[in-house]
């Protein structure tokens, strides 16, 4: 499933510079140093963190997209950096668990 396919399925776009990217698996975590070493390439990463370091970790781990749960928004400067670094960021109004369940339904 492509990242852009999430848009009609309850996920909202924050920035989508690389929407054709395929999602393979899901990772959840808010402790950035932990996520950095554990999220796999092409994962959709669900978090409630929204500072600039999130974009750096997504770059390092090479995740397919970042999904901000609980309607968390991205500050403008962080959004700009995400665009520069080709990092897809979406958001979901649901809490993390329900966001993951929704992704599971879509991906399987």
């Amino acid at each position: 499933m492509k990242v852009s396919d999430l848009l009609n399925n309850g996920f909202l776009e924050i920035t989508l510079p690389d929407g054709d990217r395929e999602i393979d698996g899901v990772y959840i975590g808010d402790l950035l140093s932990w996520v950095m070493g554990r999220a796999s390439q092409d994962n959709a990463w669900i978090t409630i963190m929204s500072n600039i370091n999130v974009i750096a970790v997504a770059t390092l781990a090479d995740t397919a997209c970042v999904i901000l749960a609980e309607d968390v928004d991205l500050p403008e400067d962080v959004k700009a950096q995400a665009e520069i670094k080709d990092i897809n960021v979406l958001k979901s109004p649901l809490p993390i668990y329900e966001t993951a369940v929704r992704l599971h339904e879509l991906l399987s």
């Binding site: 402790l31 140093s33 932990w34 950095m36 370091n53 750096a56 770059t59």
Partner: protein
């Protein structure tokens, strides 16, 4: 990082890479704050580089695009309501007094405070990995229910060892016990 001691390890590795002969690691706990200071006499950073160090997309490493040591320490401090500052002077700017000083203040009563963790292990890991550079470690706790001062200086240990490398197993073990004893008080041994 799950423990501040892992941040300490990360930041101190930068000091060693900057050619520091001596790196000081100071932890001061007083009231509801914990102040972490890591100061080295390495090559220092130019003003331009210094401006970029808290930007996660800045790095001195060529193998990855972003350096996360200082950005993560800054985040950890700010999450508790504290701050992080970095000061630096290059060898070119001052051949007599150069190096880098990182200072981070944490509020320990914040729910997002990361515990210090196993700082003794961190110190031992550093000495083991870099037996030819010197480390000074001091942990001060000044609280109504706790008054602790732990100190270690590899320059002094080196003098006593008279040529024995600091990363010998027995030496590291001794340093570990030496530090632990200062935290808990001496134990009777058989």
């Amino acid at each position: 990082m799950k423990e501040l001691s892992l941040n300490i390890l990360d930041i101190t590795e930068n000091s060693v890479k900057a050619g520091a002969a001596l790196t000081s690691i100071l932890v001061d706990e007083e009231g509801n704050t914990l102040k972490l200071t890591i100061e080295d006499n390495g090559s220092g950073m130019s003003e331009e580089v210094l401006k970029g160090v808290t930007d996660p997309f800045y790095t001195t490493r060529t193998t990855r695009k972003v350096g996360m040591g200082l950005p993560l320490l800054k985040l950890a401090a700010e999450q508790t309501g504290g701050y992080m500052t970095v000061q630096s002077k290059t060898r070119e700017a001052d051949p007599e007094d150069h190096g880098t000083k990182v200072e981070a203040l944490f509020y320990q009563d914040s729910i997002d405070f990361t515990p210090l963790g196993d700082v003794v292990s961190t110190i031992c890991t550093l000495i083991q990995g870099h037996p030819d550079t010197d480390f000074y470690f001091r942990h001060k706790i000044r609280k109504p229910d706790k008054d602790v001062l732990v100190e270690m200086d590899t320059r002094q240990i080196r003098e006593v060892l008279d040529g024995v490398p600091l990363n010998e197993y027995e030496v590291i073990k001794w340093i570990e016990e030496y530090l632990n004893e200062q935290y808990t008080g001496p134990h009777d041994t058989e």
